[in-house]
Symmetry: C2
Subunit: 301 residues, 2 copies
């Protein structure tokens, strides 16, 4: 077994604790009686999750932001992080980005471990948040008849990545992603399912549909995009925008701006996803894929 998905499947079989949510959610949710904690861990490897030449400031920012986005999807308030740091090219610059990101998202540095390693840098961050609403939203709660919404335009990170690659244009959206923490908190009491879009709208919607055991229909024309119309198909498949994707009963009074892009229905055939009425039966090409050896940064369109 060398495949990431096979490993994750085997891990999943071990994760019987209710807080683990079958490893099928963005976070672990630990019920402590009076309080509920939300825990998430993301790892990033140089050359896979960020380019060798990336500014360490941006690497630190992204490491924090992707974890904060997982907390946002649970409606959680950040408490703090534990950092697993491997010394790299410019540790001072990394620390500057770390401090800026932690300040920005309101998370404290609580602990961690610093090591030296012989190969490319690998980083890990565990983020801890306090649930603001119980039950804590999951990916699995969508119900037939629900509407499907997204909190903002997609494709900004794609354009930012391309700007960075070409050396012209604004790459901020790619280098310094935001996390929808305020929106997640406001939405948590209203949604039936919620997750962040880290790997592309279509792939993440597929995952929500699979977790919820139903079919999500998306009207691609109604998805807000930050790119030109010619790039719509790409924007639906590109990751790193970290908007929230959620379902709620049709007619729900939403506390934050959001765009309705589709709805949930009973699964009537094999397909978890209908795109403009066409059933999609294979997630390949929908977004960031996990391959046998590497994750791909740019999804096929």
């Amino acid at each position: 077994m060398t495949c990431e998905l096979a490993f994750i499947k085997a891990l999943r079989a071990m994760a019987g604790h209710p807080a683990a949510r079958g490893l099928d959610d963005d976070c672990a949710v630990l019920d402590l009686g009076a309080k509920t904690l939300v825990l998430t861990h993301d790892a990033m490897a140089q050359g896979v999750h960020y380019p060798d030449a990336a500014d360490p400031y941006d690497v630190a920012w992204k490491l924090v932001a992707v974890n904060m986005s997982d907390l946002a999807a649970k409606g959680a308030q950040p408490v703090g992080v534990l950092l697993g740091y491997m010394l790299g090219r410019d540790d001072v610059r990394f620390l500057e980005g770390l401090r800026a990101a932690l300040d920005h998202f309101g998370a404290a540095l609580l602990g961690g471990d610093t090591i030296a390693g012989p190969g490319p840098q690998v980083l890990g961050l565990t983020a801890i948040g306090r649930a603001s609403h119980c039950p804590v939203p999951s990916r699995a709660g969508a119900r037939a008849g629900d509407g499907l919404w997204v909190t903002g335009a997609l494709g900004a990170a794609m354009l930012g990545f391309e700007a960075l690659e070409s050396g012209s244009g604004d790459s901020t959206a790619y280098r310094r992603p935001q996390a929808r923490l305020a929106e997640g908190k406001a939405l948590a009491p209203r949604v039936t399912a919620m997750m962040d879009i880290s790997d592309g709208l279509l792939l993440d919607a597929w995952r929500m549909a699979e977790a919820s055991g139903l079919t999500l229909s998306i009207d691609s024309g109604s998805v807000p995009i930050a790119a030109s119309e010619a790039r719509r198909a790409d924007a639906l498949r590109w990751g790193d925008d970290y908007e929230l994707l959620f379902t709620a009963p049709a007619g729900t009074d939403l506390p934050v701006p959001a765009f309705r892009i589709g709805e949930a229905a009973e699964r009537t055939n094999e397909s978890p996803l209908l795109l403009d009425g066409l059933p999609i039966t294979d997630p390949t090409g929908l977004g960031y894929q996990h391959k046998n050896d590497r994750e791909t940064q740019v999804p096929p369109s």
Copy 2:
């Protein structure tokens, strides 16, 4: 700045949250009102913290055990872990060791992240425990007049490492370290300071003395060792035994077997450590050292 210690110092300056304990303790201690959580994260790199040829079962075991030992030093009851896993040589074997270790220590798999990376494997584990006693013991609480104890014999991991290297003898103590969880819980209400011995008795005692702002005197002859008398000096400097080192008021009725090896006194000179009455003013050579580029596995004796 390429040095691990310099990086840690800079991190420390950022860690103002009381739960972080100034990054000067084995764990973060998060007070949630009715409950207190103890959080720790350790990272391990192939070729640095474990040999390239190590059995992945043992790697998983050690990754879990070192974190459990940090919880033990806080008197905490394991709750669960989040795993940052980079795919490696034999992921099935790693999973077997992970499952065995989690079962053994009573910790649930709660979440994490699995990635593929281009270089040597780097692993991270965050462990979460529930404090059994508040205030949660720290390294910093030793008081002049306290006795200094250790929960068991040192040097077993050293002999195990040598058995593994030579291919003859029992290497279990090195490959499958234990964590003194039951002892830590029993001791937590009685100790003034406590930590686990991961990097060698003398170096870790030095750290406790520095954190507590006093001098610890150790009578080397009274330290229980698992090796022959000829190896006593080595056993005092070798890590990986994961016994608990603690101080308590002289005359304390200890709830578990432990060996008194010295005492704490006011700092009267520059030296945090007196070994058989001789002041030690430089921690170099006391145990596992953090060097500029690599950690060394075998400390100088």
